[in-house]
Symmetry: C2
Subunit: 200 residues, 2 copies
């Protein structure tokens, strides 16, 4: 993949502040920002509703049956959505400096030499606090809810990529956002600047 555009991918534990970190980074750097927007863009390409794609993408629960090819010989819906989202991501990365949150973007862009890959995590206490205070989640057991969302993200990523979500070696930089949102942003900016300097 030839690319002159700067692309930062952000994988993130639920409640780690990955979305807000990505948004602020995009504002500071003047990059485009993509997170949930990718759902709508993939839905448009497929002729599906946004709600249908949302229901079947990252939150997908895998079962033996759901991943069989249908009698029509078509790919399972999860795989169709993954391919559509991947194509959207590749098109975006080829055309503009951008920040992409989630959607296995680090894997999708693995042959893009200007892709800088980040993983953001935080202790469970920080994440449950953010889920309640900032995301306004109202569920009976917030800790197990947060853990369940992460488990779904990991299952989806690991199934689609054969990599291991959250394993440091597949990212350029992993940060505990409990260090502070502003510091996390500053660290990413410093690291990304050097990365792109090296890439010429």
């Amino acid at each position: 993949m030839n690319n002159n555009h700067m692309v930062i991918t952000i994988a993130r534990e639920y409640g780690s502040g990955g979305r807000i970190i990505g948004q602020k980074l995009a504002e500071d750097l003047g990059y485009s920002f993509y997170d949930k927007e990718l759902i709508e863009m993939a839905a448009d390409r497929m002729g599906f509703s946004k709600e249908y794609v949302k229901e079947n993408e990252e939150k997908k629960k895998f079962s033996l049956f759901s991943n069989f090819y249908g009698v029509s010989g078509e790919l399972p819906v999860t795989d169709q959505i993954f391919i559509a989202q991947s194509n959207v991501i590749k098109d975006i990365a080829a055309n503009e400096d951008c920040i992409i949150v989630g959607r296995c973007a680090d894997y999708v862009l693995s042959d893009c030499p200007t892709c800088f890959k980040i993983f953001i995590h935080a202790p469970i206490e920080e994440r449950t606090k953010r889920a309640v205070d900032e995301y306004n989640e109202e569920v009976p057991n917030i800790t197990s809810y947060v853990q369940k969302v992460d488990k779904q993200r990991a299952s989806y990523y690991n199934y689609m990529t054969q990599n291991k979500w959250g394993n440091a070696g597949i990212y350029d930089l992993c940060i505990n956002s409990a260090l502070g949102i502003d510091l996390t942003i500053d660290i990413i900016k410093a690291a990304a600047a050097e990365f792109y300097k090296k890439k010429g």
Copy 2:
């Protein structure tokens, strides 16, 4: 564990430059530096030779039999060394600002509130190059040798701690040192400074 001292632990893939990064950090920050020195300090406490401890610590190959308690009821040697090294690490951390490389120090100091935990990794190509060019390793298949050393480190860490070596979530900061040794050091300094500012 009460502690006013600043302690940076560095876990590292073999060939990622973790030792040199730790040494330069220690020089820049005016901290003490501990890596292989811990072997000698643990050996001294145990009345073993440095060579014997070196042979039986991080490089330990686990077998069903080697981890049985002996007929004397003594702990296996690997466990004895782990405990002696852990005590040395706790004593050091309680008494001076320091950087400690390897030896499960992040786990050993998990209840130390001023411990900042780092993991350094790099793509296999970078690491084999460093192993040959800088560590002067001369083995027939350098790639499989580098992978074997990491496998031993992971086995040792996972066995001793029940955590998963290289999983981003157990560290404050994970860095791909292929970004550049100097940038890696700058990022760690910036992040550690903010961490210690927060800790007051």
